[in-house]
């Protein structure tokens, strides 16, 4: 590897570590306030779920295991070239997402104890934790079988990759029956289906966690469906971004043009479905017969505090412009697809923030709950740190695992 590349990589890794340290500082400040006295989070009373919950939503609704399953489970060849990366990023985003939500707990040290038995099986939140833990376990097993054939070959390599492959494949156990390439692939397909199934349940269950709440902006049966649809938007956008980025780093941007075109169609379709559900959810909730509370809740998005975020960023930047880009001649170029994906992801990030914060603004109780929505700087630092952790973990796994991008359809 050229010295210039090593230097670039070192700078990149260093930058990510700095950002993670900033995030860690934010977390420590949130929970202990050891260095400077800060306004405690409880100052935003009435908005108990805030930026970290939105960050969690963004990561755990990444939808990347849906993208990976398109080739792994359903055998769509055009997605084969991006399946490896989608699987790795899927695992990383869910793990970091769960870490973020654990850090948002006031008493994080009790989280592990709570999962050991003292649980309320009637709570949607309990099932949210269970489904995501099952998803992570299934995803790890799926990845183990998915990469196993190539990892066995990688065992012959010298250096860190070789050692990593030897440890991960459990070669020292001499599991001969697991060296059958076809069997490994078949098990990966079955596990891929199980992961996909669990992931969709987890996404919709997470939607139910909000939708089962009495808050009118959240309440209703459309939110679980919307969560699954937006997961597809997030997954296809992130897949486009990571594919273009890794191909750009390798110096061959046109390598996976066909896969990008397939992702483009998936993104465009998911955006249309998303617009459909967002539109109807808004209209039904804002309709006078839905009640005064519901109308006021929607007013926060239509003309109120979140109107700019909703109309300009979520609808304009997040849905309309990407759709126009994808259907226009610009959608044939990689830069056009990339721009559409970046805009769609921007819209999704804001939609998560608006859903979490905006849903709680109109509680219409002026008792102990005050409808202010400040985003604390330490929350922002934590969210940035979480983003950097995703990038760094993805980079490390990408380096260690035998990722293949050559098998273009």
């Amino acid at each position: 590897m050229a010295t210039g590349d090593s230097l670039r990589e070192a700078i990149f890794v260093g930058l990510m570590i700095v950002l993670i340290c900033i995030g860690a500082f934010g977390v420590i400040q949130m929970h202990t306030e050891p260095i400077v006295p800060i306004e405690p989070f409880e100052s935003a009373i009435g908005i108990p779920w805030r930026l970290l919950v939105a960050t969690y939503l963004f990561f755990v609704l990444s939808g990347l295991c849906i993208i990976a399953s398109l080739s792994e489970v359903f055998g769509i060849k055009k997605f084969t070239a991006i399946a490896d990366e989608a699987l790795i990023l899927s695992l990383v985003t869910v793990v970091v997402g769960l870490t973020v939500i654990a850090l948002d707990l006031e008493r994080v040290e009790r989280g592990a104890y709570a999962t050991l038995g003292h649980v309320n099986a009637g709570s949607v939140m309990f099932w949210m934790i269970m489904f995501y833990i099952i998803e992570v376990v299934l995803l790890i097993i799926e990845m183990w079988f998915h990469f196993r054939n190539r990892l066995l070959k990688q065992c012959e390599e010298r250096g860190l990759r070789g050692i990593f492959a030897k440890i991960v494949t459990l070669r020292f156990l001499r599991l001969k029956f697991l060296e059958d390439e076809r069997l490994n692939h078949e098990i990966a397909v079955v596990m891929g289906f199980a992961t996909l199934f669990t992931a969709i349940i987890a996404y919709s269950n997470l939607g139910a966690l909000f939708a089962a709440n009495y808050l009118p902006a959240w309440h209703g049966p459309l939110l679980p469906i919307l969560f699954v649809v937006t997961a597809v938007v997030t997954g296809s956008s992130l897949s486009i971004i990571t594919t273009v980025a890794s191909d750009w780093v390798r110096g061959d941007v046109l390598k996976r043009y066909e896969s990008l075109q397939a992702l483009k169609f998936l993104l465009g379709f998911a955006l249309i479905v998303q617009a459909f559900f967002v539109g109807w959810k808004m209209l039904i909730t804002a309709y006078p017969t839905a009640g005064e509370l519901a109308s006021k809740a929607m007013a926060a998005y239509i003309t109120g505090k979140f109107a700019f975020n909703f109309w300009i960023i979520e609808v304009g930047i997040g849905m309309l412009i990407p759709l126009l880009l994808l259907v226009s001649p610009a959608g044939k170029s990689i830069s056009g697809i990339l721009l559409a994906a970046i805009l769609a992801i921007t819209g999704i990030i804001f939609s998560r923030i608006d859903l979490v914060l905006g849903g709680q603004v109109v509680k219409l109780i002026s008792g102990v709950n005050v409808g202010n929505t400040p985003i604390h700087p330490f929350e922002v630092m934590t969210a940035i740190g979480a983003g950097a952790l995703v990038v760094l973990l993805y980079y490390v796994l990408y380096k260690l695992l035998p990722v293949e991008v050559e098998h273009e359809a």
Partner: protein, 238 residues
Amino acid sequence: MKRRDFLKSVLILPGLSLLASLGKEGVSYAMVVDVSKCIGCGKCVVACKIENDVPKEMPISRTWIEGYSADYSSPYSRTQVQKVVMNTTENPFIKMKWKYKTVFYVPKLCNQCSSAPCVQVCPVYARFYTKEGVVLVDKDSCIGCKYCVTACPYGATFVHPEQKVTDKCTFCYHRISKGLKPACVLVCPTGARKFGNINDKNSEVYRLLKESRVAVLKPEMGTYPRVFYINLDTTVVE
């Protein structure tokens, strides 16, 4: 099992349970608040904060008072309402210049719902009912996920900034289990808050519930509160 046996068991079992419950008095606690008697002095808020170790200066409280000033119009949507909340030890009502002529105060607290959303959503059973129907918080189990805070339709639960767990009114369970009154009831100078066992025909709450026209907050939520209001203007109070 034959259809006849099945039908017998279906019909007999509920009947037996009903018979078993007859004659059992039990204790079922409730609070009755007479809005017309509340003068907004805020003694209940201060007493509650001291009794239950809630930070005095922070705008969080197990019980709070909402002051309303209203200018009634028809249709109701044109009614103008000004609302001020007392949830610290500082009383904003003393120097308050209300916009409208009609002024009244509504003390609020956890409604100790018989079908409590906070109990339903808690993932770790940190919220539970006592046999007297009071909803309590198990502070040793609470993980601070704050789902109960978003789930409570009354805004009656909050995160305790020092204990880092959720907190709410418990009807001063540590007091009532010893036969004492809740702190807010004890200090109320006008007797606006009454507390007792609604199964006890000699209790004041039983008499008030029998004799008065009472209302609960947000009945449409189906939470079946144990806090009842007399003379509550349900068109103004949220």
